[in-house]
């Protein structure tokens, strides 16, 4: 069970690390407000406190140094100059790693660890340098008692104790009676009151302390346990403890015991259940989500008047509820089924032979709206702001900068844009890769930037926004832009394109996404880890999204990632192809049109082109690409103009368009293998299963597109 407390600790660590990072980023940006500094200090401090409880010594030791340096800053003994801020940022990153290592196991980079410790120590004044922090490890796993072997077999000892409280002691809430009670637990105790100092009744000053006690304790416990009883009143009383055999004092053994305070009995942690309630509701639940240790600056407003302030009312974070992801997913599935169920119901009602259906239709419409509301509500549970993801990216840019000797900063926008949790998780790798690339290949060296009239510090702008049912993530750098002649040469050298290929600028830029493409002259240890941008592209496509790049020489490049809001539902166009019903994702459709014979042109043996307002786009016969047989030879009547990630347009030929609606995506994984041209499946209102098409792979399989491509290149070659 203690695992659950440790889990809480790691969860809390995530929040604290975020707060640390947020504060440090603000500090880096020039905000040296004491409250920001305090917030970071508290966050690191809390990490240390929690880590200590679980015996995570390495983490404790590092957090302690980090915190000590911050304490110096807090006390205005250290100035937050650039070099220190950078060190603190790196330390925060390392703290992240240490937490991750403590949680997931594995190794941290020891050299890096020691380097940071040495660097932090330089900021720690001499007298503080004695960092022999003694974490009372309870054993990393949980509540295993710290087994303390007593040095020798305990022998019985008698202590004579003289205890005379000063009047100050009573002001601290210490009661002699309780101290005696604690002593009594150690052994046999005789108590004798000494009231000789007590003046006559009339002369008593109630604030004075007249009483003293003589105690005789016979115990097998070591002396320091006896002394420990009086720990809190030290300096507040006259105290003498005389043992019979005082010689035994083995300083080292005592110190060890002192540190461990005696062997801890193993305690099953009885799940932090709320205490019995005899108090008013607002503040009783120990589980009530706390304001994170380091509350945002705004939260630290002057404390409101007593008796009204409860955490909810303080303008702090809204109360939250932690729920297992699995439960949410179950709910999402059920709602998905509900929507399908609605469609089926609607269809069946429509098929009924009823004279007046208006009432039914109204109710059905209401049902539909409610189902939509529930669905959106449930989806929003899974949605999370991209902020934590973006914050992690700041670190990537920092690391990449220091590895390449460049200076750049990451500016983030739209951090509160909410995206499905899974999407966020799976975006981390592609974003990391793009950012590393941007630093490594995009941003120029500081001196080159300066001579080019740019700010020495490169800027990478990471932004997120919602754009008509999709999420748009943009990574924009102000670097050199894509070196097109070189990119093209590399592509030719690697045999990715023919030597005489004529490509538009945009096409050259998008060569970066080709498998096996890497512009790094030598494999740098940063972005060139044997994976190219094609991996990024695959990751994004895997999420049902698209990525593309635009670039202006000398000005920089922009990567744009368009993602669906959720992975569970999408807007689709229901079409029929060779008597089958299929769904095409709306996001990929640019335009739809009904074709006529005069719009169709033949190209080569089996290619056809559609002429649209003077432009030609290759026609891809969906039925043909999927290997379906058409009943008659009628040319398909409707064309869906789609755009691929490379910006190429094609016309998908289908028989007819029926509807545009939200469909619940059902994965085909585990049902059948990969089918070329099919992305997933869905269940339609009539209960039939329909395939969701993948336009990209259909176009790739189309002879027209290939013929068109060759033709265009030849034309271009002739033209030049």
């Amino acid at each position: 069970m203690s695992g659950s407390i440790q889990d809480t600790f790691f969860e809390e660590c995530e929040e604290l690390l975020e707060a640390t990072d947020e504060g440090l980023t603000a500090i880096e940006g020039g905000n040296h407000d004491p409250e920001v500094v305090n917030a970071v200090f508290r966050a690191v401090h809390s990490i240390k406190g929690g880590a200590g409880a679980f015996g995570l010594d390495e983490l404790v030791a590092f957090a302690h140094r980090f915190e000590t340096v911050f304490d110096e800053v807090r006390a205005n003994r250290l100035e937050l100059e650039q070099k220190l801020v950078q060190l603190l940022l790196r330390s925060s990153d390392h703290l992240c790693d240490l937490v991750a290592t403590a949680r997931d196991g594995g190794e941290t980079d020891e050299a890096h660890h020691n380097m940071l410790i040495a660097a932090l120590d330089e900021y720690i004044p001499e007298e503080e340098e004695d960092l022999t922090f003694e974490p009372m490890g309870l054993g990393g796993g949980g509540f295993a008692p710290a087994a303390i072997d007593l040095p020798t077999a305990p022998t019985e000892e008698t202590y004579r104790i003289r205890f005379h409280p000063m009047k100050e002691m009573y002001g601290t809430g210490n009661e002699p009676f309780f101290l005696f009670q604690a002593l009594k637990e150690l052994g046999d105790l005789e108590i004798k009151l000494d009231d000789t100092e007590l003046p006559g009744f009339d002369a008593i000053d109630v604030a004075e302390s007249y009483l003293a006690w003589d105690l005789v304790l016979t115990t097998t416990e070591p002396r320091d346990k006896v002394e420990a009883v009086f720990e809190f009143v030290e300096g507040l009383c006259e105290l003498s403890i005389e043992g019979d055999g005082d010689a035994e004092a083995d300083a080292a053994a005592l110190a060890a015991l002192e540190a461990a305070f005696g062997a801890a009995p193993s305690v099953e942690d009885g799940e932090a259940a709320p205490a019995p309630f005899e108090q008013p509701a607002p503040a009783q639940a120990p589980e009530a989500e706390s304001a994170p240790a380091a509350a945002p600056v705004a939260d630290a407003a002057p404390a409101p008047k007593a008796d009204t302030a409860k955490s909810e009312q303080r303008g702090g974070p809204k109360p939250t509820l932690r729920v297992e992801l699995e439960r949410v997913d179950r709910l999402i599935n059920a709602v998905g089924e509900l929507i399908i169920n609605h469609s089926m119901l609607a269809q069946q009602i429509a098929n009924l032979d009823v004279a007046d259906m208006r009432d039914v239709e109204t109710e059905l419409e209401g049902f539909k709206n409610l189902a939509r509301d529930i669905q959106e509500g449930v989806m929003s549970i899974r949605a999370q702001p991209v902020k934590p993801l973006f914050q992690r990216m700041a670190r990537i840019v920092r690391e990449a900068s220091s590895a390449t000797g460049k200076t750049c900063k990451l500016v983030t926008e739209g951090e509160n844009t909410e995206v499905d949790k899974t999407v966020i998780e799976r975006l981390s790798d592609p974003l990391t890769h793009i950012l590393r690339n941007a630093v490594d290949h995009g941003i120029e060296k500081p001196e080159d930037r300066e001579s080019g009239g740019k700010n020495k510090v490169g800027e990478i702008r990471l932004s997120a926004s919602h754009r008509s049912g999709s999420v748009c993530i943009e990574i924009k750098d102000d670097g050199a832009g894509v070196n097109r002649p070189r990119v093209k040469q590399i592509a030719i050298d690697k045999g990715l394109i023919p030597e005489n290929a004529e490509l538009t600028d945009s096409e050259i830029d998008n060569l970066l996404f080709l498998p096996g493409f890497s512009t790094a002259k030598e494999v740098s240890n940063l972005s060139g880890r044997g994976v190219g941008m094609d991996v990024v592209k695959n990751a994004v496509t895997g999420l049902g999204g698209r990525i593309n790049i635009t670039s202006t020489p000398g000005k920089g490049s922009t990567f744009t990632i368009i993602l669906p809001l959720t992975l569970a539902v999408m807007d689709g166009m229901v079409v029929s192809v060779a008597d089958q019903t299929m769904v095409v994702p709306i996001t990929s459709i640019v335009e739809t049109m009904r074709g006529s014979d005069d719009m169709i042109n033949n190209l080569g043996a089996d290619g056809t082109l559609l002429s649209i307002r003077g432009n030609f786009v290759p026609i891809c016969d969906v039925a043909g690409a999927l290997g379906l047989e058409k009943k008659d030879d009628q040319p398909p009547g409707v064309y869906l103009l789609v755009e691929t990630e490379t910006g190429q347009r094609s016309a998908l030929a289908v028989d007819d368009i029926h509807d545009q609606r939200q469909v619940v995506i059902k994965s085909l994984d585990g049902v059948c293998g990969e089918i070329a041209g099919v992305a997933a499946a869905t269940i339609l209102g009539d209960g039939k299963i329909a395939m969701i098409l993948d336009p990209e792979s259909i176009i790739a399989a189309s002879p027209s597109a290939a013929a068109f491509d060759t033709e265009r290149r030849m034309n271009n070659a002739v033209a030049s």
Binding site: R42, Q181, V267, D299, T308, R314
Partner: protein, 124 residues
């Protein structure tokens, strides 16, 4: 009658640890997430002993002790300071404000209970 503990700490981990240990040991446990909430809760909970962290947002531990011992509340109950700073000056400052004793983080169950016992006499 169970001994009532009001624990004030901004760290969820520490609160959970305290809750687990104290409830297991038979104390009645209440908690607050920062100093301000702790002081506000005090009259309603009417605890037998207060355990407070030092570094907290919205009123730190010293402030808690000062307010509890101050004119308005005039509390006489024992107040234990929960702190990682074992520095003598920190203890002195807390004591001057009216703290009864301290528990050094990280604490183990035995030392926590021992500390409580010395100030409340609770036979828990």
């Amino acid at each position: 009658m169970k001994t009532k503990v009001l624990a004030i700490d901004d760290s969820r981990t520490i609160r959970n640890l305290l809750a687990a240990t104290l409830e297991e040991a038979g104390f009645e446990y209440h908690c607050a997430v920062d100093g301000r909430e702790g002081v506000d809760m005090y009259p309603d909970v009417a605890p037998d002993v207060v355990i407070t962290d030092i570094n907290m947002p919205n009123l730190d531990g010293f402030g808690v002790i000062e307010e509890l011992r101050g004119e308005g509340i005039n509390s006489k109950v024992p107040i234990l300071v929960l702190t990682t700073e074992s520095a003598a000056e920190m203890k002195a400052r807390a004591r001057n404000a009216g703290a009864t004793g301290w528990i050094t983080k990280p604490f183990d169950d035995a030392s926590l209970i021992f500390a409580l016992k010395r100030v409340t006499g609770a036979a828990a």
